[in-house]
Chain length 255, copies 2
DNA sequence: TCTTCATTGTATCGATGTGATACAATAAAG
DNA sequence: CTTTATTGTATCACATCGATACAATGAAGA
């Protein structure tokens, strides 16, 4: 235990102009593909993730939920913070202006433009069919893009998506979150496709079904799926009560 | 794909005075207990985690490493970001001044004091014996405290420690990080105690040993531990090459 | 020197879980 | 009525797991 010089506020280097924002990576599955919602800020620029600054009275989760709501119209869906991106030069409005080929960049004098922006990465899971993408507040429009064909994005947003996907895969080991990508009622084969698409590898059908049933967190409904040209699969629903009970007795969701 | 109003910088609410910092939760094991390094900023105040602001040319990892170095003298040890704490009112210098019972708080006029501080939580694993705690730059001193007897801390630092411990436990499933708490050469019973202490539950000795050997990431050295009044256990060392190989072929580190 | 005692390395047993395969049931399409 | 694709479930061989047993060992104590 050693004693040091006394703290002095002057030792802090103040970042003169700083913003902290959020960037949700919004995943969905459609047409057998994992998709991410990308935003267009200006058609002349590269695409980017949806995002926004954290406002005065918000915490980070509030901000992420707000951006999600603005962008997808959805509330209270699966949303999880996964990483902060903090490189000093990760963000600069000068870059944006240069890409717009506006005459040499000079910051507007009556507006505060941050020198530095931290962003907190979130990943969200939504059911494709319930979303009607809008541009939110700050973007012109947004659209779903296959995870395999993501173009070069603004700032470090390609990195953010990579990290989001790997965090999503990790999270599958701790929480059975796949059902968030499906409608309320779903079949086992549908759930299996979700896992196969996220993990990008095939799973054995009978073993997958056995494991899901053993978890005991899905309620088999009386009905079966209609309109299929073969044996009709059962419909299931995620059962929060059974899930809580399973958690208490200690279950692991490894595949 | 819908079109929205054009982005306007004025829609951003600028946080007039903002700091982003880091708070490493530094874990070690000693005397069969999991310990956390706590700092004292002023003896009249509650204790807190070590921490500091992210400087102009640093990213978050740089800052966390710097604080760790300032506090423990150690470099390049296990350090991992786990969560951002962002409540609007989580931090206020006014509170600090009030606790000091200084006459009604008035911010110093020549110094920038942030209205709001975000902090990025890190957890670190260090070998107790190699650390000689100092107060770092901003604290008077620091000391090890048992995880079971953490007192009420400043700000939201109790919450940060709780989250750090649960993140540490999660991480054990993905990476065999326990050895970071031990000296370079260690025995299997020593490693088992680390896991038992972190997970706070007993493990069966023979099965633990079998599993560790099956992972094939620890090299058994020729020597055995000396000076024990019973059969001398083998010494092992974490083998980075074997670890990388095991990762490639896909291993899971569940206990 | 001999005995005691705590601890370690390893083998083994039955129970449980896993991957792979098989097969009957079923519902629309032809 | 047959064909075809898919589903629910059973089963087999094998791996892994928890629990127990036991010989080996090295210092401490008699």
């Amino acid at each position: 235990m050693t004693t040091n010089q006394k703290f002095n506020f002057r030792n802090y280097v103040k970042n003169t102009s700083l913003t902290v924002g959020v960037n949700p990576v919004i995943f969905s599955v459609s047409e057998d593909k994992l998709k991410v919602l990308l935003a267009t800020f200006d058609p002349r620029l590269k695409k980017s993730l949806p995002g926004g600054a954290i406002l005065k009275n918000e915490n980070a989760d509030d901000a992420a939920n707000r951006v999600l709501q603005e962008t997808t119209g959805l509330e209270s869906i699966f949303l999880k913070q996964f990483h902060v991106f903090s490189e000093p030069d990760r963000f600069s409005y000068a870059t944006v202006y240069n890409e717009l080929h506006e005459e040499s960049y000079k910051p507007p004098e009556d507006i505060d433009i941050p020198d530095r922006v931290f962003t907190i990465g979130y990943f969200a899971l939504v059911n494709f069919d319930t979303v009607h993408p809008t541009g939110g507040i700050i973007n012109v429009m947004s659209e779903w893009v296959d995870i395999d064909t993501i173009p070069e994005l603004m700032y470090d947003h390609n990195l953010i998506i990579d990290e989001a996907l790997s965090s999503l895969r990790k999270e599958l080991f701790f929480e059975p979150i796949g059902y968030n990508l499906l409608p309320e009622k779903f079949t086992m084969p549908e759930l299996q496709r979700i896992y196969e698409i996220i993990l990008d590898k095939p799973l054995t059908r009978s073993n997958f079904q056995r494991k899901m049933l053993n978890w005991g967190i899905y309620e088999r409904l009386g009905e079966r799926k209609e309109g299929v040209s073969h044996k009709r699969p059962f419909l299931y629903r995620f059962d929060k009560e059974r899930y809580d009970k399973a958690i208490k007795t200690g279950i692991n969701f490894c595949l």
